[in-house]
């Protein structure tokens, strides 16, 4: 069984530009989560999809962040316009059911200059 995959592995952009991160969950996992680790701090929850619906987006920092999961398969997280403080590692995780273990992807390392 393939694990959670994320693309790109690294992204370096300038302040004000747009970046789109992609996550492909494990096949059959309805639950998809986005987390991020900024400036070496703790990993923080961003949002949770159940299939294509946003179940909880309480962790989204502001309206520069837009997450989608059209069709309930892969998800994208767009940052527009990017700011310096957005630099960090963005993790995606998925689980089959809500109360099951979340499996994490390798993360996308974003650097905003």
């Amino acid at each position: 069984e393939a694990g959670v995959t994320q693309f790109p592995s690294h992204s370096v952009i300038e302040k004000g530009q747009t970046v789109t991160l992609r996550c492909d969950p494990i096949s059959g996992h309805d639950n998809l989560y986005w987390y991020r680790r900024v400036m070496g701090k703790e990993i923080k929850f961003l949002l949770h999809f159940v299939k294509e619906s946003k179940q909880d987006e309480s962790g989204m920092p502001n309206n520069r962040f837009l997450a989608e999961r059209t069709g309930g398969t892969y998800s994208t997280l767009k940052v527009q316009p990017a700011e310096l403080e957005d630099s960090g590692v963005y993790f995606c995780a998925s689980s089959r059911q809500l109360q099951e273990t979340q499996y994490f992807g390798p993360g996308t390392r974003l650097l905003v200059l």
Partner: protein
């Protein structure tokens, strides 16, 4: 809201020895899971071990075991017979089964020395 505290930013251990990583948490929930994840330099976050709060028996996975003290809200990870491949950052995580999201500690960087 839940909080997770890992009080040891960095630790080191000699190969083949045993090391314990500490984790404490705070919650008003009664049903939850606790996890230890490891993130080696290759970046992939890997599940090490999982503990359901309703289970009294401590979880074990080969060389990895936990000491789960529910009343004290403590969840430490013991690594026996440490190997060089255990070098990684270790994250303790609290999983709220009602909300379906995890809260992480700051991580502990473990270095296994030859």
């Amino acid at each position: 809201a839940q909080t997770v505290t890992q009080s040891q930013p960095e630790m080191s251990v000699q190969e083949a020895e045993t090391v314990t990583l500490s984790c404490t948490y705070d919650t008003s929930e009664n049903n939850y899971y606790l996890f230890w994840y490891k993130q080696p330099p290759s970046r992939q976050m890997i599940l090490v071990i999982r503990q359901e709060a309703y289970k009294q028996q401590n979880a074990t996975e080969n060389r990895f075991s936990v000491n789960f003290q529910k009343a004290a809200k403590s969840f430490s990870l013991k690594i026996s017979d440490s190997q060089l491949g255990d070098t990684a950052m270790y994250f303790c995580a609290f999983f709220n089964t009602n909300a379906g999201k995890s809260t992480f500690g700051d991580g502990t960087t473990l270095t296994v020395k030859p």
